[in-house]
Symmetry: C2
Subunit: 331 residues, 2 copies
């Protein structure tokens, strides 16, 4: 951890993130920024009810990653996990298509109990991250329900049915974020986006369709992002024409979106001030809607590479601000 360097320069930073991929950059940002200055807006489109429990996979991945509780091998869930519950559930004939570790269960049971008692998802998440000693603030995009669903030849599939039960195999021709049209963004995020001290917004290299766009589908949130004075920096989730993990490329192709280094920039058109593509993608290209482009090593396979990419995002944001100031001074 470093309270010096990048973190000492300026005000709060907001990162938009899904689960595993985004959480890597979030971890990098949390390590280069001072305690408490990083805010993460987490996708809740993957949230669902299973076994009567309220599960928020992306929030949980962020919490486990930031709390140093994540399993580094499996890539999801907690480390030092046991699986006695799942074995007993199978014995009783319960549904086993969604794996829940014994320790992981505690978070879902506590969340379910708290939501039933009237606590909001945001308040619950904040209580837990404080309890686990996590300085980074994790916010759900909204306290209202958003449910990503995917249209296939079999009709609409709920996200987890598609993603886990069906392993992303059905061909998708449309995606919908149920509830997003009427959802209200979590109020403090709108406040932060209007805060003149906001240093940067980082759109993590998460799956655009499944992790970032469920948040952008909340109109007042999208508007606030577009109107915010701080530079908004996107990082491409496509490296060398491929997604590093998950169904990103397959899904993009299925809905007719070309898969390249600028896919995310096109999807986030009108929102970005800066865009980072991987060094592997030294193709001639230009970012849509006049976003500045930089290249960086975006593959985050070590703490060092996570921190380095975080620093490059912040450096790009700071440079864009400096440039704007210069322009203003010249006018």
């Amino acid at each position: 951890m470093s309270d010096m360097g990048e973190g000492s320069r300026a005000g709060p930073v907001l990162a938009l993130s899904g689960g595993i991929g985004g959480a890597k950059l979030v971890l990098g940002l949390s390590r280069v920024l001072g305690a408490g200055s990083l805010h993460v807006l987490a996708n809740t489109g993957d949230d669902f009810e299973h076994l009567g429990l309220s599960i928020s996979p992306d929030i949980d991945t962020l919490i486990y990653t930031l709390g140093d509780l994540a399993d580094p091998i499996r890539g999801w869930g907690r480390r030092d996990e046991t699986w006695t519950f799942m074995r007993a559930l199978a014995e009783l004939g319960g549904p086993t298509w969604f794996q829940l570790g014994d320790a992981d269960l505690a978070l879902h049971v506590e969340r379910t109990r708290s939501l039933a008692a009237g606590e909001s998802l945001a308040d619950f998440t904040d209580r837990i991250r404080r309890r686990l000693g996590i300085a980074t603030i994790v916010w759900p995009a909204t306290n209202d329900s958003i449910r990503t669903r995917l249209h296939t030849r079999e009709g609409w599939l709920a996200f987890q049915d598609y993603f886990v039960a069906r392993r992303c195999e059905p061909v998708v021709d449309a995606i919908d974020y149920e509830g997003a049209a009427t959802a209200w963004p979590y109020a403090p995020v709108l406040q932060l986006l209007r805060d003149p001290s906001l240093r940067a917004v980082i759109v993590c290299p998460s799956n655009p369709l499944l992790s970032i766009e469920p948040m952008l589908a909340i109109e007042p949130l999208r508007d606030a992002l577009r109107d915010c004075a701080a530079p908004v920096i996107g990082v491409s989730p496509i490296v060398g024409g491929k997604a590093l993990k998950g169904p990103t490329a397959k899904l993009l192709r299925e809905i007719g979106e070309p898969v390249d280094a600028f896919t995310a920039a096109r999807r986030y058109r009108g929102l970005l001030d800066g865009y980072i593509v991987d060094i592997a993608d030294s193709v001639v290209g230009f970012a849509p809607s006049c976003a500045r482009v930089a290249t960086a090593a975006t593959v985050m396979d070590s703490d060092q590479s996570k921190e380095r990419l975080a620093q490059q995002c912040l450096r790009m944001a700071d440079a864009l601000v400096a440039e704007k100031c210069e322009k203003r001074a010249m006018q």
Copy 2:
């Protein structure tokens, strides 16, 4: 297991049981009776909601005991249990006064889910015991809610608050079975009690106040027990003037009931045809309301002693029937 001998003689047997103590005799009965002829009526007065989960401690103890899943050392819960969930829950600041093992949790999660989906407690219990290959039929006394509560100087305490959180320390001056007055017995038990083929009813040596009387407080059930043609045999939970385990003696004294070999017979006055006291209690005594008395070794510390006591209960029941027939023949 033996399908011969005691089991081959006659029709179904009904046992009334609480948790651990009663489950020992139930196990003995299940081993000496033929598959499917033993029915157990389980106390639900200890049932409660915890962490948003529906927990039925006595049903669970019976299921685990009959399914050969019970922990033989701890005396409650499942064997080969792990405790990762509780550790994680403590880490999150959740309530830890009630211990739930990881495998045990599966049963509570499945029950909660099933009850929420509209399945009755009886149907759920039956589905689970079949799934676990348990031939003995386990019924809740009622599908309606009964909640045992205890009055102390601090006011009313819910059963688990008294029993687990407070370790039975507060002095009790009254006990109430909330919901019992309006609860309806599980219909098949009334049918069984009217069945002319019913061989015997065994009231297990469970705590009268906490395990048996919550069931007897359901009036139509008590009436059906009183009117049933089959012999009703009680087994004393007091051995040598002491309860083998738990708060039975302390609680009886606090509500002003003398603690001796005939305590249970007095509490079940009007219901019993036969009563078994321990060989340690070779005091001169008589059972209230003309129940016949026999002595037996009632301490069940081995499978053999459980089976032996089960056989003695059945023998006493069969002898009472034979005697009645002889009387009738002489008239």
